[in-house]
């Protein structure tokens, strides 16, 4: 594979390097090179390592909520099963596909930056954004549906649908009022987890806008791919969170419905 990224300086150059004034041939320092790194490669790898460490903190951050979900699903199994089955699987599945497509565009964007195709890079970043926004749009629709059914935790939350499902044409076993109360816990975790995920997407879309602007100026088509690469890591990580949220929240209780 042809390596188009800046190659490391040769070892023998080291003694010649008193600070930031060094210019090497055949390769010159990129304008984005920061003085405290010896080489651009060191800078790039430090950046991606830093991003990975940040993603570790994200794993632990979401991890707390995943554990809460695991615990309460086992404690209040009937309530969680019924409540989970009220989620909209087609929309969830479409959203999964949208998000995967968005991730695919992002991956192509990284490739475009690596082979220095500016127009393709901008196109891919725009498509990544479009699919990201589409995901949020579908999510808003789902949230709205929950609002109409009084499934949003808080003062307006109603357990009516779970205590007397037949009256609402829901094909589920009725829950006792005590157990039905715990559906609220499911919906709280649903909103907390998907909301936190959506928040990450919104932040990501904001950064994408900035990256598109910079890519359009040609900043990432001269061999400087680190910001695109590192943002790609973040975006794919957000995808991965959803890849777990979707089955855990939407799917794993479907076989219990009749």
């Amino acid at each position: 594979m042809d390596n188009l990224i800046a190659s490391p300086h040769a070892l023998e150059d080291q003694e010649l390097m008193p600070g930031e004034t060094v210019v090497h041939e055949p390769h010159t320092l990129l304008p984005q090179h920061r003085h405290h790194f010896e080489t651009e490669e060191q800078q790039r790898e430090a950046g991606s390592f830093g991003m990975w460490l940040f993603l570790l903190t994200e794993i632990m951050f979401f991890g707390g909520m995943f554990f809460a979900y695991l615990l309460y699903r086992n404690w209040y199994y009937p309530a969680f099963a019924v409540a989970s089955n009220q989620l909209n699987v087609p929309e969830g599945a479409i959203n999964t596909a949208i998000l995967i497509t968005s991730g695919f565009c992002m991956a192509l964007g990284v490739w475009a930056a690596e082979v220095r195709k500016k127009k393709f890079l901008v196109l891919m970043l725009v498509l990544t954004t479009v699919f990201g926004v589409a995901f949020l749009g579908v999510k808003v629709d789902e949230y709205h549906e929950k609002y109409e059914h009084h499934h949003i935790p808080g003062a307006s939350f109603s357990i009516a649908e779970f205590v007397n499902p037949a009256a609402y044409h829901i094909d589920e076993r009725p829950l006792s009022p005590d157990m039905a109360q715990h559906t609220q816990l499911f919906f709280f975790l649903y909103f907390a987890m998907t909301g936190m995920h959506a928040l990450h997407m919104i932040i990501g879309i904001g950064i994408l806008g900035w990256l598109i602007w910079r890519a359009n100026r040609g900043e990432f088509s001269t061999g400087y791919v680190a910001p695109i690469e590192n943002f790609g890591l973040y975006w794919h990580f957000v995808d991965i969170v959803w890849l777990f949220l979707f089955p855990l929240l939407y799917l794993i209780n479907r076989h219990l419905a009749h």
Binding site: I5, L11, W52, L56, G103, M106, H236, F237
Partner: protein, 116 residues
């Protein structure tokens, strides 16, 4: 400790950059294959959810999700071509997450022990 700086994954004698891996460019074709795999497995996981497999339903859903996550990590996130350091870092993250889950569960699953 010094050895050939071009072959060692962790090489302290590589004075510019220890723990270095060559940059690898994944082709759009490879990305396309990954994309298709992810879509197919999304379909499978939705389909499998409606088949009553009893306690195996969540297990299968989680296995498929994990498989998809691994594919994304390895290919979209380039980890397959990364240095051992990055791989270990990711491993450490998931390990700590599992510590959180298992050690906390050790409390919850044993609360009723000896009380019946």
């Amino acid at each position: 400790m010094a050895s050939n700086p071009h072959t060692d994954v962790h090489d302290p004698a590589n004075i510019t950059n220890p723990e270095h891996a060559e940059h690898h460019i994944v082709t759009p074709f490879q990305y396309g294959l990954v994309f298709l795999t992810l879509l197919v497995f999304t379909g499978i996981t939705v389909g499998a959810a409606y088949v009553n497999l009893g306690p195996m339903n969540p297990v299968i859903a989680l296995l498929i999700a994990s498989f998809k996550a691994v594919v994304v990590i390895l290919f979209f996130m380039h980890v397959r071509w990364q240095s051992r350091l990055i791989k270990m870092t990711i491993g450490a993250g998931f390990f700590t997450f599992l510590v959180l889950i298992t050690m906390t569960l050790s409390d919850y699953i044993s609360r009723a022990w000896g009380l019946w």
